[in-house]
């Protein structure tokens, strides 16, 4: 057997969501990643976010490139179509899928090798085009499937498992996303599900290019002293700017916060993002300030996490292209083929 299907036994006490689905309905096949892999925690967070949002699983499409992280879409949302595409090219495939049917929710899962090295160009262009998607990079700073080479997000001076020191500057995907015009930028940590699940929920509700960099330690090749992507290191250097709660559209806001300690941002889909401030004066709607904050804290070795930037009025690629509301893949012959008479007029103009 080279695949494992999970038994579909449901615990009778599992709570259903508004659609009557339990968390198990959002699961996929049994993961083949290493025990303790951060990526599996991210899959669990995606499952939780989709369950919480009452999303019909089949209305999502999950796409990935190649690598450990890109295998994960098989391990969540078994009821959704998935596409494990080409190394570094998930963004273009997802862009095409999104163009074909604007009604589905698109989840792109990638890794640091997939997005920061071979696919840096596609990452950049998907961000600047504003493809309506949630783009998650499961960032472990290492090539896991090929056993432990540095990736382009490895910090300068960090050590590989074999003790080799990395001399190259890291590529800061969050900073790039901010510069490239992503309209939702966040960073999470696979070891902090309480922070990550709301970020994923908010990103799914966001209209436009939503990017989440999730630091996800590789237990096999990058969880040792000297690594800056280990569980211990990330926990010690995590500098969250805020704590996010996502209140779904049409749900009453019941949580009461101390005045002045929270910021509320209403998204296009009607969801409300409630942000409890952790860093004083951090404004997640100020792109330039976010970039400055990120760079200042990175310089002192901190890993800035939380919702770093959101433009609640963002538009997406379909808006820019002016495409019809009906998904293009549902247009029929009558809408697509102008017919013989129109062609006769063209012929006449070519004589």
């Amino acid at each position: 057997m080279t695949y494992i299907t999970k038994p579909r036994l449901h615990h009778p006490l599992l709570q259903p969501n508004a659609l009557g689905f339990t968390r198990r309905d959002y699961e996929g096949k049994v993961s083949t990643l290493c025990a303790g892999c951060g990526h599996d925690s991210i899959s669990a967070a995606i499952i939780q976010a989709c369950f919480d949002l009452d999303l019909p699983p089949h209305r999502l499409a999950k796409l990935s490139g190649i690598g450990c992280s890109s295998k994960t879409p098989d391990y969540f949302l078994g009821g959704a179509h998935g596409f494990n595409s080409v190394h570094g090219r998930m963004p273009s495939v997802l862009t095409g899928a999104n163009l074909a049917n604007r009604e589905l929710i698109y989840l792109g899962v990638s890794g640091d090798g997939d997005s920061a090295s071979i696919g840096l160009g596609q990452f950049a262009h998907a961000m600047r085009r504003g493809v309506n998607m949630t783009y998650i990079v499961e960032n472990n700073g290492v090539y896991g499937l090929t056993k432990g080479q540095f990736s382009a997000t490895s910090d300068k001076g960090s050590k590989s498992k074999k003790g080799v020191v990395n001399h190259d500057q890291p590529i800061e995907l969050v900073g790039l996303a901010l510069q490239l015009g992503a309209s939702f930028v966040a960073r999470g940590f696979s070891g902090d599900k309480a922070q990550l699940v709301p970020l994923i929920k908010a990103a799914i509700g966001h209209k436009g290019a939503a990017f989440i960099d999730v630091i996800s330690p590789c237990v096999q090749f990058n969880n040792h002293p000297g690594s800056t992507k280990s569980f211990d290191y990330v926990r010690e250097h995590n500098a969250a700017v805020n704590r996010l709660d996502v209140i779904a559209p049409r749900k009453e806001i019941v949580v009461d916060y101390e005045p002045g300690s929270v910021e509320r941002v209403a998204q296009h889909d009607g969801s409300v993002l409630t942000l409890r401030k952790l860093a004083a004066d951090y404004d997640p709607t100020d792109r330039a300030a976010a970039i400055t904050h990120l760079q200042a804290h990175q310089a002192i070795g901190e890993i800035v996490t939380g919702l770093l930037y959101v433009d609640p009025a963002a538009r997406d690629l379909h808006d820019y292209l002016g495409t019809v509301e009906t998904p293009l893949n549902r247009l029929g012959d009558a809408e697509l083929t102008p017919g013989a008479r129109a062609l006769a007029a063209i012929n006449q103009s070519l004589r």
Binding site: F83, N84, A97, A124, T323, N329
Partner: protein, 615 residues
Amino acid sequence: MIDVSHRIDGRDRPAPLTATNDFVVKFANVNGSGSASANALFAKSILRMGVPVAARNIFPSNIQGLPTWYEVRVCEAGHLGRRGGVDLMVAMNPQTFARDVASIEPGGYLFVDSTKPPPHEGLRGDITVLGLPLTAICNAAYSDPRQRQLFKNILYVGALAALLGIDPAVVDALVAEQFKGKERLIKPNLEALAMGRRHALETLDPIGLKVRRADAVGDRIYVEGNAAAALGAVWGGATVCAWYPITPSTSLAEAFMGYCEDFRADPDGGARAAIVQAEDEIASIGIVVGAGWNGARAFTCTSGPGVSLMQEFVGLSYFAEIPAVIFDVQRGGPSTGMPTRTQQSDILAAAYASHGDTKHPLLFPEDPTECFEMAALAFDLADRLQTTVFVMLDLDIGMNEWLCRPFAWDDSRRLDRGKVMSHDELESGKPFGRYQDVDGDGIAWRTLPGAHPSRGAYFTRGTSRDPNARYSEEGPVYVANMERLLAKFETAKALIPAPVFRPAGRRTPHGVIYFGSTSAAMNESLAELEATGIRLDAMRLRGFPFSDEVMGFIAAHETVFVVEQNRDGQLRTLIMNEGGVDPAKLVPVLNYDGSPITARFITGGISTRLGRGGA
């Protein structure tokens, strides 16, 4: 101003050429001087006289300053390939003057701007020089430097039309059509035409080349292959286009944009197509594959370098079975090669694109009409076969206007979306296994994302999997899948347009195979060869994979010439490889210097090999 006629004093001067509705005019210009539209006006006015023309731009990979040529073959008999040679050279580029003059046929004509004396170098005694002081006339008539340049072009069109006997009313009417919507430009252009006409009639002697009204054009249209392919994509139901600029395919995407504005706007102004200029060819094909996976008809257009970059995705499309259409407007390779010259040199790169064992359907249009037809067909084939289909144009067809059959569309025709299992079919309990060959044709059913709440979802991947789309590296499972893909390719044979046969009048052991833009020259060559007693059964291939009919033709002849526009005989290799044909039987006739193949070349090549001497 000087009189150049006294220079012509050659002793053995042949008689000036005389020909009616059968000659070649070539314009030598400087790129970016605005000559293109004037030259096109010249060609189209002859067409309006009822006389077929074949016009070709020969241009550099440059925007301004380098030499460019425009060659117009006037041929009432209807031969649309390049003839070779020049009867009337309009030499407007001092840079290339010597070689332009050298290319004129004995007895031919040289039209020059006589404001300054033409260079002595290269002038010949066996041609007639026609000098008009174009610069001087324009400098006197216009003060704006740009106008002086542009109207010089119009001026020579007026002069040539007068010399050749083209009805002035025809040219004037075309100008009015060309500037429809920009009416203020009509009058000055007509004045420039009249000025050129008047000067020619007043100062030049009549020449032996004439255009006479005929009725040889019929209802044919005059259009570029790239525009025709773009129209075919619209009629074929394409809704997603992702592309990256590359000569000579750029105008295909641009034409698609234009036609979508006309034909793909819904009543509220929404676009029924999404067109993305991607960051590179890899992203272009990635977008196409993503859209195809999600049920939209999608294409990209590119040329050889782009096809090289797309290889990995084409392999994914083959193995994961996702529809995609690629228009490859071929140019001179390898590498950057000759970006503005024509070749048929991507045949193998397209047929076997990607690593691993792959093969892909190809379509070979012979002219813009077939570009339209095969473009529309390609989307049906891609959906039906769930794979990448290449439409193999070349620069000659793509970027030149060709006289060809009008486009036709049967309103009862429906887009063939192939085997897509619908929500209702899934709901009714129809069994679904993504890679199961339930119909025995090698083609499995697919579902689109979001089709059904609980049935039909599957995981698409470029890794090996079992018939239910589950990851598997089991040898027998892998082999069974690869064999099914071969079975699917067998199914494709019946869907590819059949070859077109042109049998010799009587039994012959010799056959010839050709395809694509070679067609025009080949048709003419067959007539030439027959006139010298060489009879050939001809077969024009219209696509790959090759049907039994194709192999039957080869089996039925002792020797089969394969005429191609590449160095290595790529189609010949493909035939040998796919059909197990003895290489000795297939004789290559190869033109690959970047200029379109001529009948003279083919006739010469075949005659020589049959021991009848060169032509």
